[in-house]
Amino acid sequence: MSELVVRDLHRSFGGVQAVGGVSFTLRSGDLLALIGPNGAGKSTCFNLLNGQLRPDSGSVRLDGTELVGLPPRRIWALGVGRTFQITATFASMTVVENVQMVLLSRARRLFGLWRPAAAQFREPALTLLGQVGMAAQADRPCGVLAYGDLKRVELAMALASEPAVLLMDEPTAGMAPAERLTLMALTAGLVRERNLAVLFTEHDMDVVFGHATRVLVLDRGRLIAEGSPDEIRADPRVQSVYLGGEA
């Protein structure tokens, strides 16, 4: 059972406040959606959580351990995995090698200078790829994969580190609608199976309302609503944010 507690995060860029006082709690078993119009501060919020950006103030604690101020690789080592909005895999490696890299890193075997990397952790990597439906493409170069498949590889890479918390930035961006639902169904299944805590941003409302257990709505850097998908759907403030700033 893990708990990510976010309290009062602030971050400004050149005097413009991008995130102003965001607080929420993420627990194992949650599939929490962070939504909001373009420019609401979702990406900034994400980058504050995973250590890529440093907040001006506020705290992020994982089971009591303060994450603010740690570099991304330390946060990862403590059990916070992530996937990227614009897919970032290791393009010069094959699919399975991408996953092997994470397993090697997890086992602290990266400084090896002698044994070929391709022979290490291949089996567990293939198992993970099987879970996301990518086993058949394991030996293809990552650089030639379709977008949706890259997203699956990212998911396998995130799972390879056995995270307690998974942050997914726009996991379905650039995918066809049917593909989106499949990927999120897969994610939802893994959340239950492994008792993960997942926070994801998303702009496809079908994905959000179909799979999220709870929804956070961000507008101009502030949380304006939090609740179950049904509560959010019915919330007039959310309606106004999405239908126009003037309402």
Partner: protein, 249 residues
């Protein structure tokens, strides 16, 4: 505004100012647009609607020559744009206002306007800094100020004014209301209506239905890189099904 249904005979239709058919576009390997078609008539304001990631921004960039693209037809005022680089397209009279504003932050307001300046062009309103300061009074007070010291709304006004200095006949406006306070959004809508009254044609991408409704004559709705619906703005407002399918929560 004229209601086209009330006139007894359809007026002779002049060829549209901008015609786009079968537009494909890529970022690197990602195929973003897959057959967008739209047109903008002279003096018309067309809203390009769709969700985040639907391809609105890419459509405008592709027209402007800022994205890798291919099109069956890409015509502006009788000229083929397909082979032209961005600066030649700009000199033909298309003004581009990017969503992320991209003002030259090291330059003052006046210098930003100077970068946009092009010779006046027949058939398009001619702009001078003074005329623009009239349209955007805030800018006049900060003529000597650098872009780094401006708010989001002021930057948006400057971006628009800078593009107008090129005396365009067609304006490509990318998400003009995004991230702006309601008051500024109203000013922006007022500015777009003024420009239309001056005779400019506008193609704007927008997520906000209320903003589009306030300024546009027609709407084109795109989703995952394809055109899904096109028609009069009023019809879009009336069509709940289209709105829930492609736009709203």
């Amino acid at each position: 505004m004229n209601d086209p249904l009330s006139s007894p005979l359809p007026p002779p239709v002049p060829p549209p100012l901008l015609t786009v058919e079968g537009l494909q576009a890529w970022y690197g390997r990602a195929h973003i647009l897959d057959g967008v078609a739209l047109s903008v008539g002279r003096g018309e304001v067309v809203a390009l609607m769709g969700r985040n990631g639907a391809g609105k921004t890419t459509t405008l960039k592709a027209v402007m020559g800022l994205a890798q693209r291919r099109a069956a037809v890409l015509r502006f005022d009788g000229r083929d744009l397909a082979a032209l680089p961005a600066h030649r397209i700009a000199r033909l009279g298309i003004g581009y206002v990017p969503e992320d504003r991209r003002i030259f932050a090291d330059l003052t307001v006046e210098e930003n306007l100077e970068v946009g300046r092009q010779p006046p062009r027949p058939g398009a309103p001619a702009w001078t800094p003074d005329k623009l300061y009239e349209l955007f009074p805030n800018l006049k007070e900060m003529r000597g100020r650098r872009g780094t010291r401006m708010s989001g709304g002021e930057q948006q006004m400057l971006t628009l004014a800078r593009t107008l200095m090129g005396n365009p006949s067609l304006l490509l406006l990318d998400e003009p209301s995004e991230g702006l306070a309601p008051l500024i959004v109203r000013q922006m809508a007022e500015a777009v209506r003024r420009l239309k009254a001056e005779g400019l044609s506008v193609l704007l991408s927008e997520q906000s239905l209320s903003f589009a409704a306030a300024v546009a004559d027609r709407a084109c709705v795109i989703e995952t890189g394809r055109l899904r619906w096109t028609g009069a703005m009023a019809d879009l407002l009336a069509d709940r099904q289209v709105r829930t399918a492609y736009l709203a929560v």
